[in-house]
């Protein structure tokens, strides 16, 4: 999510393919270095409700995730 633009596709690929994964890891790190927060929409296994899971490392991303959403970190308004 980019202020002034909304949703922007940063990178896409199959994490099982090595070249794609390297690209995804690089983009993931770049976004976090820029101060963005990363979250993955998931379904709570207990309640079945959808929620988000914050990820701080590429390895934290659930393997079956379709996407990671980066958004500016929150600050007091």
């Amino acid at each position: 999510m980019k202020p002034g633009h909304g949703e922007v596709l940063l990178a896409e690929g199959d994490p099982r393919v090595r070249e794609d994964e390297e690209r995804l890891v690089e983009e993931f790190r770049r976004q976090l270095d820029e101060g963005m927060w990363a979250a993955v929409p998931v379904r709570n296994p207990g309640s079945g409700r959808r929620e988000a899971r914050m990820v701080k490392q590429y390895g934290d991303i659930p393997p079956d995730s379709e996407r990671v959403i980066f958004f500016p970190r929150a600050s007091g308004g």
Partner: protein, 205 residues
């Protein structure tokens, strides 16, 4: 006598030359054909009136694909989303079933409001924003639906962190408490109608 006339003519020519030059330059500029600006000649960012609308449409689709069906319906019909608080105040709260001890109303580009669903008591408002980190100058905001999604993701994934970062105030600093109470009433009506509809659908099966 002739020499004097020549001297006067020379002086008049020298005095009139700059005026004639300026007139000629203006005339040439007025007659020059207008050509379109080439690349790089116009570094002004042209305003695209449809950009924000398109960004908001994409943001709504993204929000819809992430939140629960009930939450999407709430946002579509009422303009805000309710997110349940994760913490229980005491052991009694853990046995409330689906009704949480407290919840948040998430509005686009407005503070998050914490309240007690059981009593409708308004607790506090949390002012939080997601500022542009690119440092490109200007002060852009997320589209409205992206702002709601960012708050939803922050609250459902790490409630403590977003609440710690927010500025907390009593309700009334930015939001009108009467309006929030009216929204709670609208939410209750919306849930009642939705419950009736679901009940009717189940009866028909």
């Amino acid at each position: 006598m002739l020499l004097a006339l020549l001297a006067l003519a020379l002086i008049a020519f020298v005095l009139a030359a700059p005026i004639a030059y300026r007139r000629a330059a203006r005339w040439r500029a007025a007659r020059a054909p207008r050509r379109p600006a080439g690349p790089g000649e116009l570094d002004m960012d042209l305003y695209d009136p449809g950009r924000e609308r398109r960004a908001e449409q994409r943001a709504r689709e993204l929000l819809r694909s992430c939140v629960n069906e009930e939450e999407w319906g709430m946002y579509r019909d009422l303009g805000f989303i309710r997110v349940a608080g994760r913490h229980a105040r005491r052991e009694l709260d853990r046995d409330r079933g689906i009704r949480p001890a407290y919840a948040y109303l998430v509005y686009p580009h407005k503070p998050i409001v914490a309240y007690v669903p059981e009593s409708g008591q308004l607790l506090s408002e949390y002012c939080v924003e997601f500022p542009d980190l690119t440092g490109n100058g200007g002060r852009h905001r997320l589209p409205a639906s992206d702002d709601v999604l960012a708050k939803w993701m922050a609250l459902t994934s790490d409630e403590d962190r977003v609440i710690r970062r927010a500025n907390m105030h009593l309700v009334g600093r930015q939001l009108d408490p009467a309006r929030v109470r009216r929204d709670l009433w609208r939410l209750a009506e919306w849930e009642r109608r939705r419950g009736n509809r679901e009940h009717a659908q189940q009866s028909q099966r």
